[in-house]
């Protein structure tokens, strides 16, 4: 057994060591596999980045309340009186007897996208003072917080990066809406950073919403009190609302987009992978045929078929490993953290995010490369193992 192992190792090492002699044909397999890994990792990093920006916007210890039947904040709405009722709900976190519940408005404004120079739907959120206590991850990092009762506003860090005309100190005008940007806020790169925040009274006035709101974001006294809070609201005859944990809400809002990107990404990866396997098969057939005499000699010397088979597979896997590492590295260097924004199909509003080349994506890419190498090496390996010694030695 040990001898068999030793034999196999020797032959495998031999075939891997001689790769440089077959450089041009080996390059086909390496570059082919690297190409697949780059495309695979890059496309999926878009989906991953989008999902992360959305998922991290939510917190498990917060709940969002929308009107029954509404599928997003955009389409939701309820009178201010109902918001007062909601503040009485059990399970809410209270500070100095004040409920940490933030009634908000959510509309969209046209702001030009820097990359295209054309208008995009950027969310404008009307908030009250309590909002910053509820959204405790938000920090004003440049300028200052806006003053309530004025037309001042603060803008998310990603929004200033992706859109023009909403920089610190600028004034944004559209129709009856006129806001002055006095600060930039940060929420750690989440989807909320694509928004502009101002006084809810301003949104109510400009958009003729009277005393109404579209959503209520509530801090729970613990993640476990969600059910208490939800049941109280949904069984209250004064209200017609739906309650969701904020994490679930954002998860659901990102489903369509993430699913779409993943669907396209995996289709491309599978097709390209098949193509790269064909390339690898060609490479390995070439390798086997140029080494026909060498392999036959090994066999004649008494090396067993299994060691020949494994040596061809080892070579193919080595090429795949190089390709996979190169591809993963290139994708990481070229795309990780790349800032962009897109329109979420479920809400029609912009979400800024950064491509995220995660460790799990890199591992997936590398594993995929090795699978391609294994599949690509299989047929040529069998051919090599079955080589009839006598004829092979006579060849050439």
């Amino acid at each position: 057994m040990l001898r068999w192992f030793g034999q196999t190792l020797t032959v495998a090492a031999l075939s891997v060591r001689t790769i440089p002699q077959r450089l041009s044909s080996s390059a086909v397999a390496v570059i082919g596999i690297a190409g697949v890994v780059i495309v695979f990792v890059a496309v999926l990093s878009i989906g991953e980045g989008f999902r992360a920006a959305m998922a991290n916007a939510g917190s498990p210890s917060r709940a969002i309340v929308l009107r029954g039947g509404a599928d997003s904040e955009m389409t939701s709405g309820f009178p201010g009186g109902q918001a007062d009722v909601m503040r009485e709900a059990p399970g809410l976190k209270r500070v100095d007897n004040r409920a940490l519940a933030s009634p908000e408005l959510y509309v969209m404004v046209d702001v030009n996208k820097r990359s295209t120079g054309t208008p995009a739907n950027v969310p404008l959120r009307g908030i009250e003072a309590v909002a910053l206590q509820v959204r405790d991850e938000a920090r004003v990092v440049e300028g200052r917080m806006f003053q309530f009762g004025t037309n001042e506003a603060i803008v998310g860090r990603s929004a200033t990066r992706q859109f023009s005309g909403v920089d610190l100190g600028s004034e944004y005008v559209a129709g009856n809406l006129r806001i002055k940007i006095v600060g930039v806020f940060d929420t750690g790169g989440t989807a909320s950073e694509t928004e502009i925040w101002c006084d809810s009274r301003l949104v109510q006035a400009v958009y003729q919403r009277g005393n109404s709101y579209q959503s209520l974001l509530a801090s729970l006294d613990s993640p476990a009190s969600f059910d208490t809070f939800k049941n109280w609201l949904t069984t209250n005859p004064q209200l017609n609302v739906q309650v969701r944990r904020e994490t679930e809400f954002y998860e659901q809002q990102s489903q369509v987009m993430t699913g779409l990107i993943r669907g396209i990404g995996y289709t491309i990866a599978v097709l390209m992978g098949i193509g790269a396997v064909f390339g690898a098969i060609l490479t390995m057939y070439t390798a086997v045929s140029t080494r026909t005499r060498e392999i036959a000699t090994l066999r004649a010397l008494g090396f067993n078929t299994a060691s020949v088979l494994i040596s061809v597979l080892a070579e193919s896997l080595a090429l795949a490993l190089i390709g996979g590492l190169l591809g993963g590295l290139a994708a990481y260097l070229a795309f990780n953290g790349y800032q962009t924004s897109t329109m979420n199909f479920q809400t029609f509003s912009q979400v800024a995010f950064a491509f995220a080349v995660t460790r799990s994506l890199l591992i997936q890419g590398l594993s995929y490369a090795l699978v391609m190498g294994l599949v690509g090496g299989l047929l040529p390996a069998i051919k090599a193992a079955r080589l009839p010694i006598a004829t092979a030695l006579r060849e050439l």
Partner: protein, 382 residues
């Protein structure tokens, strides 16, 4: 042409190599086709937008509404021949995941969209039925709706006076060319306005036809000028510009597709084919020398190698294009998100050209290598 059998024979000499090279080239062009289909889907009908149609929205964006009273004023503006209104309704059918565009429209809406093919009697039935709806063939097939069915739609934006559900009668089913969106659900604006709980007398946008597409900019400016300083200022653009704006919101899909395509064509096509041809030439060194000795000109040798490379490219690529064209051609994609799921004829032609060009590029280096062979060197080498 008389050398074609020679080229063909050469291809058959190493069957395994030829087959896997063809397979790789085939996959490269299946991917090309798939990427073009995705791009067509994301361009959301910009190519098909009517040049003589304008869209008027509220100046601050799609979510602000416009008064219905504007319609008459728009209709009497010089240059405008037809005008109708539309309002986004949202809505879902049975399950929240079943989303498609539900739109409340004015009675003459379909006069503006001759692309939607509806039998005369169905239009008549719809006009006579306040609760009537006209639905796209793709959605009708997906959900099994037939003419005469009563369809419940759950409200998302507009709640009815009672409950959460709106009911409509399917009076007509529209069809259209394969690149026309057949997932929409249209019903009467009057019915929406009478039964919703607020925002009475307001519409989402106006669509109009103008007499001369080359005057689109002036007519647009004239229209917007009429509503300046009113309660709802407007923004009018061509339908194409409106859709393009929408596409731009998603991001630069085109650049991304081109980047992926470059990677695909380089790794699966160019590299593989060039390597195969280089190997073929290397193997046949002595043979090529014999051909030259027999009097084959350098140009002919060059042509023979190029022909072999292009033949591989065209067979593999052509099959790839054909396979996707047939697979996609079987009905449009039943997805309201990206309703137009087709391979455009234009993209097939571009694919074929690309295929020939890349075949030429891949073969050029080995072909030059073959052409430059010196008979004496080549014969001595073996």
């Amino acid at each position: 042409m008389k050398y074609l059998p020679l080229v063909w024979r050469n291809l058959l000499r190493r069957k395994v190599r030829t087959i896997f090279t063809l397979a790789s080239v085939f996959i490269a062009f299946v991917l090309y086709s798939f990427l073009m289909v995705v791009q067509a889907a994301f361009s959301m009908g910009v190519d098909m937008a009517g040049a003589d149609r304008l869209m008027m929205l509220h100046k601050t964006g799609l979510i602000q509404l416009l008064p219905i009273s504007y319609q008459q004023q728009i209709g009497s503006t010089a240059g405008v021949t037809h005008v109708s209104n539309a309002s986004w309704f949202g809505g879902t059918y049975q399950d929240k995941a079943n989303q498609f565009a539900v739109i409340a429209v004015g009675e003459n809406y379909f006069e503006l969209y001759p692309e939607a093919k509806i039998p005369e009697d169905q239009i008549k039935a719809w006009l006579a039925d306040r609760q009537g709806a006209i639905v796209g063939r793709a959605s009708a097939e997906k959900y099994g709706w037939k003419i005469g069915d009563k369809v419940p739609i759950q409200a998302t934006i507009w709640q009815p006076k009672q409950g959460q559900t709106w009911f409509f009668n399917v009076d007509g089913i529209y069809d259209g060319e394969r690149d026309f969106d057949k997932t929409n659900f249209f019903f009467h604006y009057e019915y929406l306005d009478e039964n919703r709980r607020g925002a009475y007398g307001q519409v989402g946008w106006y669509v109009m036809r103008i007499d001369d597409p080359s005057h689109a900019a002036e007519i647009g400016a004239r229209l917007d000028g009429q509503f300046i300083n009113s309660s709802a200022e407007t923004k009018t653009s061509t339908e194409k510009a409106f859709l393009q704006g929408f596409v731009n919101q998603v991001g630069n899909i085109k650049a991304m597709i081109i980047a992926i395509l470059t990677a695909v064509l380089f790794t699966l096509f160019l590299l593989v084919l060039a390597n195969t041809m280089a190997q073929a030439v290397r193997e046949r060194t002595s043979e090529l020398a014999v051909l030259k000795t027999l009097g084959f000109s350098n140009l002919l040798i060059l042509t023979l190698v190029l022909a072999e490379s292009m033949l591989l490219a065209i067979i593999g690529g052509g099959l790839g294009l054909a396979a996707t064209y047939i697979a996609v051609g079987r009905g449009s994609f039943n997805n309201a998100l990206l309703p137009v799921f087709i391979m455009r004829n234009r993209d097939v032609v571009i694919g074929l050209v690309l295929c020939c060009a890349l075949g030429l590029v891949a073969g050029s280096f080995p072909a030059i290598m073959a052409m430059r062979l010196r008979i004496t060197d080549a014969l001595r080498r073996t």
